[in-house]
């Protein structure tokens, strides 16, 4: 499984855009990139998933360059409720039995 590296913590203010970059230099051809959000004592919540280029949904965007060795999760106009740990995960998907290997996530703190 590809190892990921992301910042341990980030601080932001309400209304700002937050970009969290994750490095995954040894990503394999059939690997997808998935981001989860986790609040204390709650289960990780799926945010977004992509394979290449750009993916956007109602809560975030995911930018993946052509070499796929990194990815950036973009959270537009964050609020206090976005304070959480964000995990970047890389792995082959499909066919069942594809465990997620959580690395050290990024603790995002949003202030007024």
């Amino acid at each position: 499984l590809a190892k990921t590296t992301q910042p341990i913590s980030m601080d932001s203010y309400e209304g700002q855009e937050v970009n969290i970059t994750c490095s995954h230099n040894n990503i394999a051809t059939n690997d997808y990139i998935t981001w989860y959000q986790q609040f204390p004592s709650q289960g990780p919540r799926f945010i977004i998933q992509g394979y290449k280029t750009k993916v956007t949904n109602e809560v975030a965007s995911l930018f993946i360059p052509a070499d796929r060795k990194s990815s950036t999760l973009s959270l537009p106009r964050v609020s206090l409720s976005d304070t959480a740990v964000y995990y970047c995960l890389v792995g082959a998907l499909g066919g069942g039995g594809n465990k997620l290997t959580f690395g050290t996530g990024t603790q995002l703190k949003v202030e007024l």
């Binding site: 799926f46 998933q49 499909g94 069942g96 997620l100």
Partner: protein, 114 residues
């Protein structure tokens, strides 16, 4: 939309006791994963099942066992509990679909071993 259901949500046990955690996946999901998250730690994969067969195994102690039943719900059985087993236990479910697979997590079971 229906989510993953876990029961119980909280459990207190004594050392050397046994515990059974249950997971009910999202309807029509065929894969279940179990993760353990200790205090201040990241989730760690324990075991997974696909179509009622064990599909992968992680850092699950021999004292733990699990299975997936015909209705796709899963149970994690933990015996000879130790203090270090105190953690949040998450179940996630998924189904293989074109374009990838997304795991959806339940709210977790908080196990406290005294």
């Amino acid at each position: 939309a229906a989510g993953v259901i876990q029961s119980p949500r909280h459990l207190i046990k004594e050392k050397r006791e046994t515990a059974t955690l249950k997971c009910y996946p999202i309807p029509r999901h065929d894969t279940v994963y179990w993760y353990q998250q200790g205090p201040g730690q990241d989730p760690q994969f324990l075991i997974s099942f696909y179509e009622k067969m064990q599909s992968d195994k992680g850092s699950i102690p021999d004292r733990f066992s699990a299975q997936q039943f015909s209705d796709y719900h899963s149970e994690l059985n933990m015996s000879s509990l130790e203090l270090g087993d105190s953690a949040l236990y998450f179940c996630a479910s998924s189904t293989t679909r074109r374009g990838g697979e997304t795991q959806y997590f339940g709210p977790g079971t908080r196990l406290l071993v005294l």
